[in-house]
Symmetry: C2
Subunit: 406 residues, 2 copies
Amino acid sequence: MKNTMIAQSGGPTAVINASLAGILDTAFAGNDAGEVYGGVHGIQGIIEGDVISLSDRFKGDPQKLKQLYYTPDMYLRTCRYKLKNPDEDSSDYDKILETFKKYDIGIFIYIGGNDSMDTVARMSEFVKAKGEDIKVVGVPKTVDNDLVEIDHTPGFGSAAKYVATSVREIILDTCIYPYANVSVMEIMGRDAGWLTAAAALAVPEGCSARPLLYLPEAAFDSDKFIERVRKETEEHGYAVVAVSEGVRDRDGNYISASETKLDKFGHLQLSGTGSVLADRIKEEIGCKVRDIGLSSAQRSAGHCASDTDRKESFKLGQNGCRYALEGKTGVMACLKRTGNSPYEVEYSSEDVLNIANKVKGVPMEWIDLENAFVRQEMINYLRPLIQGESDIPYKDGLPDYIFEEF
Amino acid sequence: MKNTMIAQSGGPTAVINASLAGILDTAFAGNDAGEVYGGVHGIQGIIEGDVISLSDRFKGDPQKLKQLYYTPDMYLRTCRYKLKNPDEDSSDYDKILETFKKYDIGIFIYIGGNDSMDTVARMSEFVKAKGEDIKVVGVPKTVDNDLVEIDHTPGFGSAAKYVATSVREIILDTCIYPYANVSVMEIMGRDAGWLTAAAALAVPEGCSARPLLYLPEAAFDSDKFIERVRKETEEHGYAVVAVSEGVRDRDGNYISASETKLDKFGHLQLSGTGSVLADRIKEEIGCKVRDIGLSSAQRSAGHCASDTDRKESFKLGQNGCRYALEGKTGVMACLKRTGNSPYEVEYSSEDVLNIANKVKGVPMEWIDLENAFVRQEMINYLRPLIQGESDIPYKDGLPDYIFEEF
């Protein structure tokens, strides 16, 4: 019987550790997963041999596993590391295989987004080509909700719940003044506007105004934007704007103040879109404007996670481990929505080659361009994903998250 | 029997409406408070005759009163309106009196911060001088915690709990990378560093790093700051900075990018301190930096309110109404801490003249300048204020706040 290695990669979410807890739950339930190890800092840590025993740390300790289940961000730390084409340079792969052999690994489970699924695809092909009996399985996560083949990504529902909750509170905070007042909230999502769309859920019962939503899928027109904000402040006395960090003008230029930089995957690093728009409103309309940049708080707000999301993330972790134990490799744990009222999902495994490096944007027909809002189809899609509040453990007034240094 | 008028003023908190609910609870309990009215948009609304009946809207509806109790921000809306010296210009006072007479008001309760307590003091003096039998009472609120005579202000504990929760989640979000990483969080508090200090509570058990805290009470040294962040990233691989929006250099200049403007009370309007420091770290250290500006989300996060704070706010509202019914005027409902373990407070009324326009900063001996942190006395002071999670009502995945348009 061989052993199991798990690692986490990419940006955090509120529920990646719930997936890790799900994998551990299934791995510890029988004996077929062997000893369970964690690669610290994703595939980069495995290359460098940075490995800890998760069996030692969690097996036989359901209380600690429960604490992990509720802890946001990434217990095993992360990396942003892109494997090269092994035909050109196989040195990373050789080092990974060395670590796998050292720990007698038969199962490798990688929790991550579309870049990480590229790693799953490449590693799965590589070990197959080498004739090694190692099953490589992906477990999805990303607040961006931009993976294909899956109805929605784990982590998205929690970020959406936090965004909708915060926007609702900001609506209540913005509508109270006897003079025109605007709040601009920059929302995460480089290329996909799913999280910005979640602000649509925020509208309180009895409120006649709507937040103005700007998704990166549609070209951003600065003049129309100012016109719309002006109309809103004239009609309602206030406006709340939720704008994706990745909105671009008609020519494809980012509406961002700061210079654009490339991250290690060649993605543009953006910031400042909200500030640019806040300044523009101040200049052109001259009213009071607040620039709210929740930034990474959106992806790490474990205290406001969706219970639906957390449970699904746990289940996807369990399934990922089960698929590997059943001998599957090169697959990602997946879910499809089979009903919306009542909300129901079906779980399955999908070929990771169909998922890696692909991006799912918001369908244009779900965007209501004229009203800077979204259509009912989007509301119906989003609503079930934010349902349920998890009963997270508190200690001394704060969420009692697990934190270990290795 | 005369009637009661209530209004809210200044910036929102998560629990001002809990004070409003407390006032209504006491006013509705007997018959001595008469009909209860609300001035919409504070004293400015009362000048303009913008009044609604709160008896009509809440009396005999405990469910709705409970919803109000849990709703952040200001049900009755707000204003920032400074009354002039009545000896120079009494026109506002005359209009207020006109509204009071129209509704046969015998009690006026104003919920607000130190500017609002100035209004309470002036109104109380004015009606006395006019020989009118109107009791004027203040109920405190402000996330800044900068009122004198009171141990801590209602609203502060909830903002502190939200800040500490968010900083804890950001610590977990920042520590996960295999390369140096810094998060900079700008915290509210123009002149008082109480809320920034609350970030000290965020440190998770088992974490050897501390967030770096910069309060406005101490002069900010940019070179020392960079040196400290560099040391932190070298030792721990990451740093989390919590900086007050109001920090100033040795010469008293704000560390703020944007031009400074004056609000209606002559206070400086600040923003951008966090962005300035984030840019400076990028330039001088060259590592990855996230600039997190929670802004008004800090004061309106009802979903993360402190139950201790909410209960005290309700009680202070009840007391404010009771003091007025007992015939007191020119007083503010107050609380003093009488014990810390167990935490206990005593309620009292204090002369509003001792409170209006005064500001309570953080004592310098509670700041640990060398370590950019706070001393144990501050931790002991803060800890009881964030205790308890309120069981807020949820509907369809989001907090079920009351929202009415008038």
